[in-house]
């Protein structure tokens, strides 16, 4: 148990340092730095929330933007009518419920069927919103006039990311996390071991959806104007997927290792090769899939294991308790 609490402690210190760092950031950087921080935090939350469900369970979801968009639209519709805290809670709650309903009916799908379904879900919600706005609300665009500064967006996203890490950590070491990993390894075996697979899957799926909606809600005031194609832009789902895969979805901190280089790369490409962005991005994706199939986290773990094999003496103190955390 000693070593486990040591890793936990290490994680806790890192988290605290991260929170303090981002909380103080607005004092040091200008508008552009904040903008980068927002971009980073946004994808960090989305990718981590995505991996919280999809990593251990192996269900690859392309529905990220569906929940992100639900959050953004909650703000567009209710932002000026309710206090901000209530809007955020409501955004998370709506996404949770939608994910619950959708999950109950569809998480029985497996493999590629689930991937296609989740992509379809995002499109479906977009079309429903489009239909509602054009026929019932009488206008497809919505204006979001909320005086929320960039600093406040950074702080809110930092808080959500910290919360997500705590929740993710709690899930990982709980029975729910264990059951989810079991589902990922072999769903039939899990079922035979008495795991209520549907409940577990739907619960974690909905929880991750709630976090995605929070991001959409917090970021929406930045754009002033929302329409369904902005809020439900499928690119977000793909970017989150590739970031999480690059980082490694089987570890809680994995996606973060993918978000950092990808956000920097996106920025570098759009600054220096604005007109070749899509081409270079495609090349990068191919390179990632071929060269780092298990993600950066997998790469690091591979090195650690090789190191341990070479120096078996070190093994005893740090490795054994870690088995419990796997």
């Amino acid at each position: 148990m000693m070593a486990l609490s040591r890793t936990t402690l290490f994680g806790g210190v890192l988290l605290l340092a991260g929170v303090i760092g981002f909380a103080l950031l607005p004092g040091f950087v200008g508008g552009y730095g904040l903008s980068m921080a927002i971009n980073f935090l946004m994808f960090a939350i989305l990718a981590t929330a995505w991996a919280m469900f999809s990593g251990p369970s192996g269900y690859v979801s392309l529905a990220t933007v569906a929940f992100f968009g639900i959050g953004a639209y909650t703000v567009a519709v209710l932002g000026e009518r309710l206090p901000w805290g209530a809007v955020l809670l409501l955004a998370a709650a709506i996404a949770f419920l939608v994910a619950l309903l959708v999950g109950l009916s569809t998480l029985r799908l497996r493999g590629v069927y689930f991937v296609i379904f989740s992509f379809g879900l995002a499109e479906l919600i977009r079309q429903v919103v489009n239909w509602y706005e054009s026929t019932q609300a009488g206008s497809v665009g919505r204006y979001v006039f909320l005086d929320i500064t960039q600093e406040q967006i950074v702080w809110q996203l930092t808080a959500v990311l910290a919360l997500l890490f705590i929740v993710g950590w709690l899930i990982e070491r709980s029975r729910v996390g264990f059951a989810l990993r079991m589902i990922g390894d072999d769903e039939t075996v899990a079922l035979h071991c008495g795991v209520n697979i549907t409940l577990i899957k739907v619960l974690v799926f909905s929880l991750s959806a709630a976090f995605m909606a929070l991001v959409g809600a917090i970021v929406a005031p930045r754009w002033t104007y929302l329409d369904p194609s902005i809020a439900f832009n499928p690119n977000i789902s793909f970017q989150v997927l590739i970031m999480a895969l690059l980082g490694g979805a089987r570890r809680l901190y994995g996606p973060l290792l993918g978000v950092i280089p990808m956000v920097l790369l996106f920025e570098y490409l759009s600054t220096h090769f604005p007109h070749l962005f899509s081409v270079l991005l495609g090349v990068t994706f191919l390179a990632i899939v071929y060269l780092v199939p298990h993600g950066v986290a997998g790469l690091i773990e591979g090195y650690v294991q090789r190191y341990r094999k070479r120096f078996p003496g070190k093994r005893a103190e740090s490795d054994i308790p870690k088995e419990g955390a796997l």
Binding site: Y143, V219, D227, N233, H275
Partner: protein, 403 residues
Amino acid sequence: MPSTSLARALLGIGACVALSFPAMADDLPESIRIGYAVSDTGPYAGGAGTTITPNYKLWVEEVNKAGGIRVGERQLPIEVVAYDDRSSSEEAVRAVERLINQDEVHFVLPPWGTALNLAVAPVLHRAGYPHLAVTAVSDRQQDLMDRWPRLFFFLSTSSHYAEGIVTMLEELRESGEIEGRVAMVNVADQFGIELANAARALLQQAEFDVVYSQSYPPGSQDMQGIINSARQQDPEAFLAFSYPPETIAITDQAKTLGFNPPLFYTAVGTAFPLYKNRFGDNVEGVLGIGGVDSDSEVMVDYIERHTEMTGQAPDLWASAPTYASLQVLQQAIERAGSIDHEQVVAEMENGTFDTVLGEITLDGRAYWEGWQVGQWQDGVFRAIGPSDREGAAEIVLPKPDWR
């Protein structure tokens, strides 16, 4: 002794500060840095590549060829920093922040479309930059201008264009050329809905017989259903409040199905060079948004320069206003004799400008004198409405048969 040296140091610092301030006010940069992020990729790329980017390039090249913008005693060339916002609001916001904070550009030119202009408006407002939102069209224009005091509009409002076509129909009914059966369809997107709502209300108010009214989702390509349904009602005027992809699809399929009402109107995209290239002589008689006064020499000259420099003809609705907005910026800087934003904005608000649209003013920070209705006549998209304004051509009625 220590206090003396401290006093001397303070004096020294004071002198430096005092010296550097007036120097800064006079000290102009070597060039005027102008930045823009427009959609080179993504769904807005078609609109941006037709209306916005060619004009930015044309203007920069022409100004630099002439030696630059005159500021006070000096001629300053333009230096450009350009990014691609990939049709994404978040990218647009970040790109403009990058332009302002990292590249430290002196002026930012707007992106294409209402959504992206509104996304970057708060950023430009916070940084105190003027914002000439040329391709933004919103019925909440006044509201937005109240919110952001350095925001300018050039293409009026959606209702304004709906008024244009309905007024034209009223005039035709009065002169007995039509009885008043109107079919209308619209794209279920912001501009399409605003246009359709305004048109529907005005048509009802003027007691027109709206025989068919239908909306369709953005990006629809199969228009045969609605065209056939509209045709069954035998309308005299067919109004499609459409976006460029469907403007092409509707025209194409109406031609195939042989649906040829006396008045055939498609909205955005009708004025694009692409439309003329695609349909050739069949564009004859088609009505749409925008139009140009083909008797205006500056306009004819502008179209020639645009075609020559960029290899494509301008969009005959929003291209000229885009170019005019750049002329406004240039003349405002020259008159202010400074690149100070407040002074330039003050000039923009109060001045009269010599542009490709003729002499224009931006009273109340918006240009209202644009053409509402145009018609393809002899291969030119000529302005016909408002019909009482100087430069308006006579409408050709009925539309000739498809060939």
